[in-house]
Symmetry: C2
Subunit: 475 residues, 2 copies
């Protein structure tokens, strides 16, 4: 969330440059982009796993082709908006969060803050401090969004009353859900929970969501997220840290229905102004689209294609198609990027959020070549943006048919991360992300770039090899 | 108007490829892009003119720097919408048209058709055939848009009742005007004048224009076209043949004010749907922005910077800053491009319209590198799009500070065409354009690329040299 006009980051001079693009460049170099890859050799155990998988002949490759085909044919559309209680059966006292499972004791500050805020929103606690105590006492039920057909940016907290987009892959019938984007600044997803945060969430539930739901219902056919996303990528979005085109195209698609509403014009104007003034409003739809796309490829026996990358601020977890719902984890990384004035490395929470689901389907860092404005902001140029996308082809099974990079001759973005290739090449997925303060109650303090821990991929490949491709766990 | 989703061109298979990108490539090559420029030598008279200008020392260069500075500082904003009668004092019986002055006898078919349609719209004639006879009998007053602070796409016809955008360069105070875009298909600007065309124009006057005017009045500050244009170019528009981002950003900027309107929701919905379904709606604002920018640089003694390029379908005319309102012309060229099914070269009218004002300020063909989708549509790739923009730096005085090409490291587009350099290098400005049928009453039949005639530039340089830079005609 670095490059957008109107963000605090652009309005204020950056006071701390913690690596930023120099680090990306160094990482690309270290990972062998543009230089000879002579330094990387998979650990002995991982090399043995790769050999075992190779011995299985073309079975993994065939499974991966199927996974790629399912991702390619996924056509996520927006069915509507409903409360998380209605859409996914979330019950009072239960809170979903980003990333793989994590116990309260190990949970990072911003995620704790978001849960405290959500408890106040739900009327379960009268103040955040009480909620923090109740949660620590084990009185709340906590679960990953990904295990309830959902994704959430940053802390990713979803509670029952929150409205969620309902997205369905029309080709495969699987559904994915995500909350409505709260805007920038002090927001729940970055761990802030003050009265203004709660009031905005109540307004989203009371006014914004019903207005949007009515507009969606008034469309002649469901909103085609893949079509909007394809246009947006052609218009300079990578649909993770840059969603300006996606947001503009969404509003353009909904505008005729929005103006037809009989609701009070002041309410309508407030709703439209909220969307129009937030370049990231489309992010949550991009994430639901990505989740619906990735899940369409889940549960294919023997496939080493990654179907989820997600961080809870403590651990980074991935899932493979061929290993079902099992998480393979490693420590969440330090985000290299830029900080808002007054903040620095010491304040930063480790990598956080389900938004890396976008990279999982060829967006975000994988589509960086389409969005050079992001790299430019941290001092890089369009060549580095293109190099980032180009390097990801080496760990991808194929190329997106929907998301294409104009500056690469409209080549499709790298699609379907093959965990084997990550382990084999040592090349880690490039992920764009925001930076949250490590304490609950503060919020966003910066944005930047990060890579996942290699051990998650090595563990996943090990599990796949240990069972053999013919006995992969079904989803 | 070639590449947009929803145009007849994309929906129907193209049946005739008349050169297209192959021609562009050949022209670029012929003009020395990427090859040694050994073939071009200015005609003897033109060479003498260039020598005379060179003998004047740095005076032309200084004048051109001033022209470039004025274009760079121009900040066109939208003041509102009014009828051409109110905004520019256009009187009943007077019709403005695109390009340099042209008598009825020499006027092309689509322009005659548009004037006939406008006469019916104004109630001056009861049917187009009658209008054609009256016009031929000299009963109408005809004048170029450019001579009345206006520009018009294709035939460019403006009559008194038509609503026009009022655009002002806030830095310099000069104004420019343009009609509201009619959409695609059978439209007046392509010479169509059937009942549907007239009815749409009446709806624009009666409903669309007042709704937009009210929305503009409700904004907290006037719409900044340069800011929207800069974002749009970063999002893949060149703002001549591609206006998808511009149109989306315009609607996004106006949406909060549009939904706040108390007008009947059906009227509002129809207005918003009209804009949202027309990727070219922003074109007419892009042209008014360009005219306001170019005019800010007009009338600088001795300057060889081009301040207008415009075609009436018979002649192609240019103006220089240092030669005031004088037109220098040559025959309008044949457009190389793609035709709608059923049409071909024999049906095509020569190059037409004021829209080359966009190229005059570094947009259109000059910003092609930012909009590879246009080139791709006619079989080229992003490299050719970049080559087109790169080649234009050789005839430009400087670079735009507003319009930047991401794939060129955000380099500003070539700005301020130096007529001397056109004559010196033999490199002609690259212009994107639509193709109208040569007969009145038909409409658009294709789109493509064109270059202006060299003699217009040679004549302009000759006039500038003949008078000497110190005696340039003041505007």
């Amino acid at each position: 969330m670095t490059e957008e006009l109107g963000t605090p980051l652009l309005r204020a001079p950056a006071v701390a440059v913690s690596g930023g693009i120099a680090v990306l460049a160094a990482e690309l170099e270290a990972q062998g982009v543009g230089v000879e890859r002579i330094d990387w050799r998979p650990p002995a155990a991982a090399a043995a796993d790769l050999e075992r998988l190779a011995a299985a002949g073309g079975e993994v490759a065939a499974a991966n082709r199927e996974a790629l085909s399912r991702m390619s044919t996924a056509r996520p559309v927006v069915l509507g908006i409903a409360s998380a209680a209605d859409a996914i059966g979330l019950e009072r006292g239960c809170f979903l969060h980003a990333g793989p499972p994590v116990a309260w004791e190990a949970m990072c500050g911003p995620m704790r803050g978001a849960i405290a805020g959500a408890a106040v929103l739900e009327g379960i606690a009268d103040e955040p401090e009480r909620a923090l105590r109740d949660a620590a006492a084990g009185r709340y039920e906590l679960a990953p969004c990904h295990e309830h057909l959902a994704v959430g940016p940053m802390a990713g907290v979803i509670s029952p009353s929150m409205p969620v987009w309902i997205v369905e892959s029309s080709e495969h019938g699987n559904r994915a859900h995500c909350t409505l984007n709260e805007g920038l600044g002090r927001v729940l997803r970055y761990g802030a929970y003050d009265a203004g945060v709660i009031e905005r969430l109540r307004w989203i539930e009371r006014s914004l969501a019903p207005i949007l739901a009515e507009a969606l219902a008034r469309l002649s056919e469901p909103l085609d997220l893949r079509a909007i996303g394809a246009q947006a990528v052609e218009m300079g979005d990578e649909l993770h840290n840059r969603n300006r085109a996606g947001t503009s195209l969404l509003l353009r698609a909904l505008a005729p229905a929005l103006v037809a509403s009989e609701r009070p014009s002041g309410d309508l104007s407030a709703a439209v102004r909220f969307i129009a003034s937030n370049d990231h409003f489309f992010l949550n739809l991009s994430m639901a689209m990505a989740k619906a796309t990735a899940d369409a490829a889940a549960g294919i026996e023997g496939s080493s294609v990654v179907t989820a990358m997600a961080r809870n601020g403590t651990d980074f977890g991935i899932r493979l198609s061929g290993t079902g719902e099992t998480w393979f984890t490693g420590p969440a990384g330090r985000v290299e990027g830029l900080y808002f004035p007054g903040y620095g490395d010491a304040d930063a929470n480790p990598d956080l959020g389900d938004s890396a689901i976008t990279e999982t389907v060829g967006l975000g860092g994988f589509a960086m070549g389409a969005a050079p404005a992001i790299v430019r902001f941290v001092g890089g140029d369009s060549e580095l943006a293109l190099a980032t996308t180009r390097s990801m082809y080496d760990i991808a099974c194929g190329e997106s048919e929907a998301f294409r990079v104009p500056a690469l001759g409209f080549r499709g973005t790298p699609l379907g991360i093959d965990a084997r290739e990550v382990v084999h090449t040592g090349l880690l997925p490039q992920i764009n992300t925001g930076i949250a303060h490590r304490e609950p109650g503060v919020g966003q303090i910066g944005a930047g770039l990060v890579t996942p821990p290699m051990e998650a991929f090595a563990a996943a490949v090990g599990a796949l090899a240990g069972r053999g491709p013919a006995r992969g766990e079904a989803a």
